[in-house]
Each structure stands twice: as structure tokens, then as C-alpha cells.
């Protein structure tokens, strides 16, 4: 594959739309817009965090990036290549450069294979198998040579996720898409895997698209974050800007919903929590899709669709007709 000049953005998604149609008996077909005009870019070397609730479209986005879902509109550029116009052969080559790490190390690894075979498989497919390379990869994730002959069931949850990461690293990727990589792990083990991901990023110059629902993990790891609600990005910005001064009421609600592990800071004010549940994606509210749960919604929220607009700080955008003001210093 010919490499176009090193692009600044390793993943670039523009006005991406993914729709599904489902047959609903006599009622005919329903059209569900799982992703609706999603635009963002993951810059080389950064960790870009994507947060939002289930049903928001995070999984659809991952599946679309890896060619499992087909976009109905918009474009995806990966390492400078437009996925839609790429020939199958080049697409395969590109796939080696962007790897996926799954949430559940229990179900993503073949239980009958040894650690050696699990890591060797992608090397063989890519045509670069050497036993020493397998050992090197296992070392890199902190497992070491004595893991070679063991099968997934003989590893702890944290070790299994390390094995999953070693497998993802085997083809020598530049980008890892991390889909909830630590949410299945015990608290005392989560931090180990998070540190490993940070070390690998530094050593190998990797770029991460990090998808998670745990805000403390996202905040810890990400340089920038995007917040997704019902198929749309509602806020994008530098992590600390978004956490200390969320502009979208949904972002504020997500932050306020996470229980603070400090009994001196018990939640007294529940007014910033969202009311009700995520609306039906097949029948979304008019205007702003968050308005039915938003404590600040007004009449015009039902008629106007908010676009992502700058929020004062560099790179901080939010899609809200009534964005929250940035708190003055000292407030939270």
C-alpha cells in the first residue's frame, strides 16, 4: 500500500450517518438512525475518549469503523485513506494498522488456543511469524515467556486482557480502538491495565480511540473527549475543559451522575441529574434529542436542531441552544 503523507488525523469521521431499517409486522418498516451526522477526528498520538450511554451509538460507530456496518452517508478516513473508495486489498492492509481491543477478554479469545497461538495467529496472517516476536509481545504486555503454553482459562481477568492487547499489537498497529477495555475488570486490576495502555502508547507512539462509560477512566486517560447522545455528538473538547466546564446539559448530567467516592461530598442537589430514560432511537424527539430529559429545555429546543458550536475555548464545541456558562474559577 502506498502511504500518503503522514496525516495529522489518524481517524477522521465526517458527517457520518448509519441507518438501520427493521420490519415491524403490519406497521411496515421503521428506520432507525443509529449515527446522525457524526464528525470528529482522532489526532496522531492522542487518546480520544468517547462517552455516552448504551443505545447512544458507540458500538455502531466501532462497527462502522471496522467495516461491519455500512455508512448511509458521510465519510471515514483512516490514516488518510477514504474507506469507501479503498480496494479490498488495501483495506486489508489498512486493517493491520488499526486494531480493536474488546471489552470482554473472556469471550474474545479462543478458549482452546494457547497464549502463543493467540498472539501468533495475526502474525502468521500478516506473514511475519517468529516465535521470538510472540515472546517479545507477551513481554511487552507484562505476561512473559511462561505464559506461552497457557490457555485463556488459566489466566486471571487482567492477564486475559493483557493477552488481548498483545494480540492486537501483533500486526504492528498505529491506532488502537479500545472498546470498554477495563470495564469487565476488578477495581484493583483496572489500574494495572490502564497503566499498561499508557506505557504502550508512550513506547510505541500509538493513537487511541477509547470508548468507555466510566467517566473516571475516560478522564484519566483521554486528552480530548466527545460525548454521544442518541447517535449524535453533543460536545467535544479537551478533557479537563469538558469536565470542569461542561457546556451541554447532558455532559453535566453524566458527570453529576457518577457517584463521587468521597463521603464528604455527598450529592445533595439532584436537579442536574437527567429525568426519564433515553428516548426511542427509532422515534427520536424533534429538535434537540436530549430535550425530553433536559432540565433546561425551552420551547425552541423542540423546533431547532442545535449544531456543534464553539464554546469560548479552543477546540471546545457543544450542540445546545442554551449552553451552560463556564463556572468561574473556584467553583465546580
Amino acid at each position: 500500500m502506498t502511504t500518503i503523507d503522514e496525516p495529522e488525523d489518524v481517524i477522521r469521521v465526517d458527517r457520518l450517518e448509519v441507518s438501520f431499517t427493521s420490519r415491524r409486522g403490519l406497521l411496515g418498516t421503521r428506520r432507525l438512525r443509529a449515527l446522525d451526522g457524526v464528525s470528529f477526528a482522532v489526532r496522531r498520538g492522542e487518546t480520544f475518549g468517547l462517552v455516552g450511554e448504551s443505545g447512544g451509538g458507540k458500538s455502531t460507530l466501532v462497527r462502522t469503523l471496522f467495516g461491519i456496518n455500512t455508512p448511509s452517508a458521510g465519510s471515514i478516513r483512516i490514516l488518510g485513506h477514504d474507506l469507501a473508495t479503498l480496494r479490498p486489498q488495501s483495506r486489508r492492509a489498512l486493517r493491520n494498522r488499526v486494531q480493536l481491543v474488546f471489552q470482554d477478554p473472556y469471550s474474545s479469545l479462543d478458549p482452546r488456543m494457547t497464549a502463543h497461538d493467540i498472539v501468533a495467529e495475526p502474525l502468521r496472517i500478516a506473514g511475519g511469524y517468529r516465535r521470538e516476536r510472540v515472546v517479545e509481545l507477551l513481554d511487552q504486555v507484562g505476561l512473559g515467556r511462561d505464559a506461552l503454553a497457557r490457555k485463556p482459562a488459566e489466566f486471571s481477568g487482567g492477564q486475559r486482557q493483557r493477552l488481548g492487547i498483545a494480540r492486537a499489537l501483533a500486526p504492528g498497529p498505529e491506532v488502537l480502538v479500545l472498546d470498554e477495555p477495563v470495564s469487565a475488570l476488578d477495581a484493583s486490576v483496572q489500574a494495572q491495565v490502564i497503566n499498561l495502555l499508557q506505557d504502550l502508547q508512550e513506547q510505541l507512539g500509538l493513537s487511541y480511540l477509547f470508548i468507555a462509560h466510566d467517566l473516571s477512566v475516560v478522564r484519566h486517560l483521554s486528552d480530548r473527549i466527545a460525548v454521544m447522545h442518541l447517535g449524535k455528538l453533543v460536545e467535544i473538547g479537551a478533557t479537563e475543559d469538558v469536565f470542569t466546564g461542561p457546556a451541554h446539559p447532558y455532559t453535566r448530567a453524566l458527570i453529576a451522575s457518577a457517584p463521587v467516592p468521597d463521603p464528604h461530598r455527598r450529592r445533595r442537589d439532584t436537579s442536574t441529574l437527567v429525568r426519564g430514560e433515553l428516548p426511542d432511537a427509532a422515534n427520536p424527539p424533534s429538535g434537540c434529542t436530549f430535550r425530553t430529559r433536559c432540565p433546561l429545555a425551552t420551547a425552541d429546543c423542540a423546533t431547532r436542531v442545535p449544531e456543534l458550536e464553539p464554546q469560548g475555548r479552543t477546540d471546545h464545541v457543544a450542540a445546545c441552544l442554551h449552553p451552560l456558562a463556564r463556572p468561574s474559577k473556584g467553583n465546580r
Binding site: 478522564r219 451522575s257 457518577a258 467516592p261 463521603p263
Partner: protein, 333 residues
């Protein structure tokens, strides 16, 4: 202070085909006072859920209680007949599990199920029962409860189902609510709503609650007292303030240090190693292979530490930590 629920030296496990005993819960003692919220904290496999299933008489085979005592208002539950336990569950002991579908019957209307829970323990005529079902659903924030009561569980979202389970748990005004990871499967905004519903329902009724969770955020927000479990044993208990402001056991301290702070980019603290599987627990202290103290004390890997009562009502199972902590032992206890 009289205990509403008192667990003493409870040991639970199973016997292998070879006649070997595998112990999942090892000499656990806990006290729950009237109206109190006790958080039982631990990682998967620590024995926190098995402890409460034993209390409820709901241990799945082949698990059994090997020894110990569970007293509710002074009456012994270990060895009590099924009928006694069944009468207690749903009346005095309300239950909320992680998956609402372990409680809800998929082929019965939600309202009918809550009505049946009422009918088992209370004499009400049909109209009074229907009225009470609608009240209960309204109290947990179900909109249009009279209509929604006629729906089947699959027509409800996960969050709504869990509200129904809370309504059912509260139906007979229990003295103790046992909630095992009640919001773990839910999204963060729904989790926050549900915890508020649960906390309000509990506070209104004045019931005591055992909240089983791995989430230190929920512990900090809702606990009066906390018991930390590791490898089948309680390693530290105390008030929520003692546990968060002044943790003593190295595992409790490690858990708190590994909480991710706000600093982006900084390295997280990680407890080395991973929790032992119940079939391969180390001798001595279960935490010893991961502990900073254990390297300096041979006893850690030979002698199982017991909970030592300290001043202020806390208790810690770690001799080296107690020695180095500026807390007096409670010699009267």
C-alpha cells in the same frame, strides 16, 4: 445497640467429589442495626454475594453453610425450615438483585406480580391490593402507574424493571433491604436515578439496608457503615468516615489509592497481582501475596489474621497495620 441482623462466624462453601471442602465465605461476622445502611464491599469472588445469599437461605447447590449463625431479631436462621425462611423473605427481608429478571416472571404482568408479593404476606381485598400496587409503582417513579401495571416485564426498559423490583422489595415494608449490585447493569444516568429511588424508598420506610457493591462511589454516597471483604473474609469494618478518611487495612488503602483522580496523564496507583480464585486461596492472610507488609512479616503467609476491634467501633484484620497505625485497640470489646 441491639442488632437487627447478626451474622456470626459464618462459613460457606461446597464439598468436592473428593470430599474436600472449598470455602467461599470464611468466618464472616457482621452486625446490622435498625435503620442502618451497611455496605458490603469486595471484588468478584470475595464472597460478598454468597454471604447474603446464605442469610436469605437462597444458596444454590452445591453451596452450603458449614458453620456459623445468622440471627434476625434474635431468631436463628441457620437450619431454619424452608417455610420460616420463605415467610421472612419478601416480608421482613426485601431483596433487590443486579438482574431484575431474576426476580420478575417474564410471562406475568408487572402489577400482578407485585400484587402476589403483597398477597403472600398481607390480607388485602382485590381493590385494596390494586390500589397498593399503583401506589408502590408511583413511589418508585413509574409514570402512569395504573396503566403501566398491566404491562409485561419485556415491555419495560432495564431501569423501569429495576424500579419494579424495588417496588416489590418494599411492598411488605421490610425491616431489612438486601440490595446486591442493584444498579451495576444500568447506564450511569439511570444508575443515579435508581440509587435515589432506592435510598428514598428505604429512608421513607426506615428499613435497614445491606448494599453489596464494588463501587466505592456508591459506598461513599450511601453507607453508614462499611465492611470490606477480600478472599472470603471481612478484612476491615468501620463507619464510612473511618473507612474513607482513615483506612487501616492495606487492601482498603490500596483500593482507595487506585481510585482514578482528576489528573490526566499521571500514573494510576495499582495494587500488584490479582485476587486469588476461591479454590486457590493462599495460606495465612488472603491478601499477603499482594501486600507491602507481607514481605516484612513471615506470619502474614502462615497465620490467618482475625478482626481485631479498635477504638471507635472499627475492626481490622491485619496485625502489622494495627501495629503501625495510631489507633488504640478496644480492650473492652
Amino acid at each position: 445497640m441491639s442488632a437487627l441482623l447478626e451474622i456470626t462466624d459464618l462459613t460457606v462453601g461446597y464439598e468436592t467429589a473428593a470430599g474436600e471442602r472449598v470455602v467461599l465465605v470464611d468466618s464472616v461476622s457482621l452486625r446490622l442495626a435498625e435503620g442502618e445502611v451497611l455496605c458490603l464491599v469486595g471484588e468478584s469472588g470475595s464472597g460478598k454475594s454468597v454471604t447474603m445469599l446464605a442469610v436469605l437461605g437462597l444458596l444454590p447447590a452445591p453451596l452450603e453453610i458449614f458453620s456459623g449463625s445468622v440471627r434476625f431479631r434474635g431468631a436463628e436462621l441457620v437450619g431454619a425450615d424452608d417455610e420460616t425462611l420463605r415467610k421472612l423473605r419478601g416480608a421482613e427481608l426485601g431483596m433487590v438483585f443486579q438482574d431484575p429478571m431474576t426476580t420478575l416472571n417474564p410471562v406475568r404482568r408487572v402489577g400482578v406480580q407485585i400484587g402476589r408479593a403483597l398477597a403472600v404476606h398481607q390480607r388485602l381485598d382485590a381493590r385494596a391490593r390494586t390500589r397498593r400496587v399503583v401506589e408502590l409503582l408511583a413511589a418508585v417513579g413509574i409514570p402512569q402507574p395504573a396503566e403501566r401495571a398491566r404491562a409485561y416485564p419485556h415491555q419495560w426498559s432495564g431501569g423501569m424493571r429495576q424500579r419494579a423490583v424495588i417496588a416489590m422489595a418494599m411492598a411488605n415494608d421490610p425491616a431489612v433491604l438486601i440490595a446486591d449490585e442493584p444498579t451495576t447493569a444500568l447506564d450511569v444516568t439511570i444508575q443515579a436515578q435508581l440509587m435515589e429511588v432506592l435510598a428514598q424508598a428505604r429512608a421513607r420506610s426506615g428499613a435497614a439496608m445491606v448494599l453489596i457493591t464494588h463501587d466505592l462511589g456508591l459506598v461513599a454516597q450511601y453507607a453508614d457503615r462499611v465492611a470490606i471483604m477480600y478472599a472470603g473474609r471481612v478484612v476491615e469494618t468501620g463507619t464510612v468516615w473511618q473507612i474513607f478518611d482513615d483506612a487501616t487495612h492495606p487492601y482498603t488503602r490500596g483500593l482507595q489509592r487506585s481510585l482514578l483522580g482528576q489528573s490526566g496523564g499521571a500514573r494510576a496507583y495499582a495494587i500488584p497481582g490479582s485476587p486469588p480464585s476461591p479454590t486457590r486461596r493462599p495460606p495465612g492472610c488472603g491478601f499477603a501475596p499482594r501486600c507491602e507488609f507481607a514481605g516484612k512479616n513471615d506470619e502474614c503467609s502462615t497465620t490467618t489474621p482475625v478482626l481485631v476491634p479498635l477504638a471507635g467501633g472499627r475492626a481490622v484484620a491485619c496485625p502489622p497495620a494495627i501495629e503501625s497505625a495510631p489507633i488504640e485497640q478496644d480492650l473492652s470489646a
